[in-house]
């Protein structure tokens, strides 16, 4: 259940990391967000608050 990140749009600002309600997002070595922990509630905050619209979340396989 990866985060889908548009690397051309993402500025590595970290808003998604700051606001994730389950604190599961981190930036990788290239500065792009990924889900470090498999505990997503798919609340959509990361997608909603991304200032560049660079991020899309997918639903976990078990619930989609």
């Amino acid at each position: 259940m990866p985060l889908i990140v548009d690397e051309d749009l993402c500025t590595s600002c970290g808003v998604c990391v700051d606001r994730c309600t389950m604190d599961i997002i981190r930036l990788n070595d290239d500065g792009f967000p990924y889900k470090k922990y498999d505990e997503c509630w798919y609340c959509g905050v990361c997608e909603e608050d991304c200032p560049e619209n660079a991020l899309i979340i997918d639903l976990p396989f078990q619930v989609k």
Binding site: K36, E39, W41, G44, Q62, V63, K64
Partner: protein, 548 residues
């Protein structure tokens, strides 16, 4: 980090944010601190807003007395008069406060608020248009000059002579140990959403925000406060698999619920219990049907569902290829939860939001003001703040036993040290705990079944030494498993104590299948035994406020 504050608010969601704002309104010179497990801009149960304020008594249209009649029916009599009356009485001023902050409440062509009837008597639910509600609350907290400590889990309350004098916890990223001494403490950290296992099998696929793991119930219980309503394990029929809500939004706009036989189910003001009964009687699957609604109504429903509270629904339906104009929406039973907002569970509070411990207040889902919804979180956020400010004016900071602080810090260090190479992942462990809750702690209940959980409980607690904890994020999940276990222990003891069936399916005992008003129109109150350290149950009369 060690700090002193006048009022410590634990949990910066709806109730906690309101409490902090109102405390500063009452006296800007008072020092107010919020400790929040997530990040305050998007935290608690309304991270992406809410579509309704469920209980508003509008002067000239409804009355607090009418609300009390409805609430008594909805709670089957397990309701103290004063707290719910205060909530109803103050609900309209909450509406006006939110309007003043720019939250929109839609009106009809006669300029009246659009209200919907979801209670037996009276139309109390007001539509609200507020995907940004939490951002607005967070902004007001900031403007008020409240100190906010994000990403911090509280693991223990500081107590001295039955008085709460602050709390301890740690930053879930850095592990920094945090001690906050406070003259007054307001618990506002939600119910227990991670109780039984969702049918999808996905641990975090719960209806309510899964960051709420019963933290507040466990903290209050361990500090010596009384709790009640834990036998009322509650679930809802929501969108199958994803467990997102849509009932009020669709059903109050003309949608119907049909069963597998094509029969329309009588909803009696959106009675979720009627729907769940169809499933249990083998008449499922059950569906929400909207294909008879006009296009503009469908668009209205889609606009709300796809922007507010759980907008992920849009993606879910696209993936399943379901269009509300044609397709049916299958409903499934959510996991069971413990909650003061949707249910009857929580810390015992009076109409002043006071718990049974000096210096400790509770508001929102963590407190037992039955079926209070968002209205209750806001009203009791206000009330808790007003009372805490009075308390702070008359009380100095109590003396803190430094050994309590050292012990808690050492306990957390020991887990990090000893559990480094544990053999069970936190996730696997939580899965088995919650599967066992599903097996034994939810309806249908009976004595033997409930006691099976108590057989497992000490084994789980002992096995926690084998959980692998490699960072502070995992340590926070480890702590949450303790909260879940405590919540389940309280629930099972309450379920055993109430030797009757009440609140429909949610406390159905197959060995006591009848409701018994003669003996059981009472609260089952739980507290930690002073000597034994075990859960003690007491039966307490309902406080009727002179009414019947």
């Amino acid at each position: 980090m060690e700090l002193e504050t006048d009022i410590l608010v634990i949990g910066g969601g709806s109730a906690g944010s309101m409490a902090a704002i109102v405390a500063k309104e009452q006296n800007p010179d008072i020092d107010v601190t919020i400790i929040e497990k997530a990040e305050i801009n998007r935290s608690g149960s309304i991270a992406l807003g809410m579509d309704a304020l469920n209980i508003v008594v509008q002067p000239g249209i409804t009355t607090p007395e009418l609300y009390m009649n409805s609430a008594r029916i909805a709670t089957e009599g397990i309701l103290d008069y004063k707290p719910s009356y205060v909530m109803a009485e103050r609900s309209y001023s909450i509406l006006k406060r939110l309007e003043g902050w720019g939250i929109r409440f839609p009106r009809d062509e006669e300029n009246k608020y659009i209200s919907l009837q979801v209670h037996a008597k009276g139309s109390f639910l007001l539509e609200m248009d507020s995907p940004d509600l939490k951002l607005v609350l967070a902004e007001k907290v900031k403007e008020a000059g409240v100190r906010v400590i994000n990403r911090t889990i509280v693991t223990k309350l500081l107590v001295n002579n039955e008085q709460v004098i602050g709390a301890m916890g740690f930053n879930i990223r850095t592990g920094e140990f945090i001690v906050c001494k406070a003259k007054a403490t307001i618990l506002a950290n939600g119910g227990c959403a991670r109780f039984s296992l969702p049918n999808s099998g996905y641990l975090y696929g719960t209806f309510d925000y899964p960051g709420n793991a019963g933290d507040g119930y466990s903290l209050a219980y361990r500090a010596g406060a009384q709790l009640t309503g834990f036998e009322f394990t509650q679930c809802s029929p929501l969108i199958k698999d994803i467990n997102c809500p849509l009932l009020y939004i669709t059903l109050t706009r003309g949608a119907e619920v049909v069963n597998a036989l094509g029969e329309t189910i009588d909803l009696e003001y959106v009675s979720t219990q009627n729907m769940l009964k169809e499933l249990r009687e083998g008449k499922g699957p059950i569906f929400i049907k909207m294909n008879h609604l006009p296009e503009e109504r469908i668009q209205d429903i889609e606009r709300i569902l796809f922007t507010t509270e759980r907008p992920i629904q849009k993606k879910f339906w696209e993936n399943r290829g379901v269009d509300f104009r044609e397709g049916l929406i299958e409903l499934g039973e959510t996991e069971y939860q413990l909650c003061g907002g949707h249910g009857l569970t929580g810390i015992v509070v009076n109409e002043k939001a006071e718990t049974t411990l000096k210096g400790l207040y509770a508001a929102g889902d963590v407190a037992c003001v039955p079926l209070q919804h968002l209205t209750g979180a806001f009203v009791f956020g206000e009330v808790a703040a007003e009372e805490a400010v009075k308390f702070v004016n008359n009380n100095d900071l109590g003396e803190v036993d430094q050994n309590l602080i050292k012990d808690e810090e050492q306990r957390l260090l020991n887990v990090m040290d000893n559990n480094k190479s544990g053999s069970i992942s936190v996730k696997d462990f939580e899965y088995k705990v919650r599967r066992t809750i599903s097996d034994y702690a939810i309806p249908p209940k009976n004595e033997i079944k409930l006691k099976r959980f108590l057989w497992w409980l000490p084994r789980f607690r002992d096995d926690m030494k084998d959980i692998q904890v490699t960072d502070h994020h995992e340590l926070s999940r480890y702590e949450e498993i303790q909260f879940i276990l405590d919540s389940a222990e309280l629930s099972v003891h309450a379920s055993l104590a109430r030797e009757e069936s009440r609140w429909g399916w949610f406390h159905h005992r197959t060995d006591y299948p009848e409701k018994d008003d003669g003996n059981w129109l009472k609260h089952v109150v739980l507290e930690k035994g002073l000597k034994s350290g075990e859960v003690q149950t007491l039966l307490v009369d309902i406080e009727n406020g002179g009414e019947h």
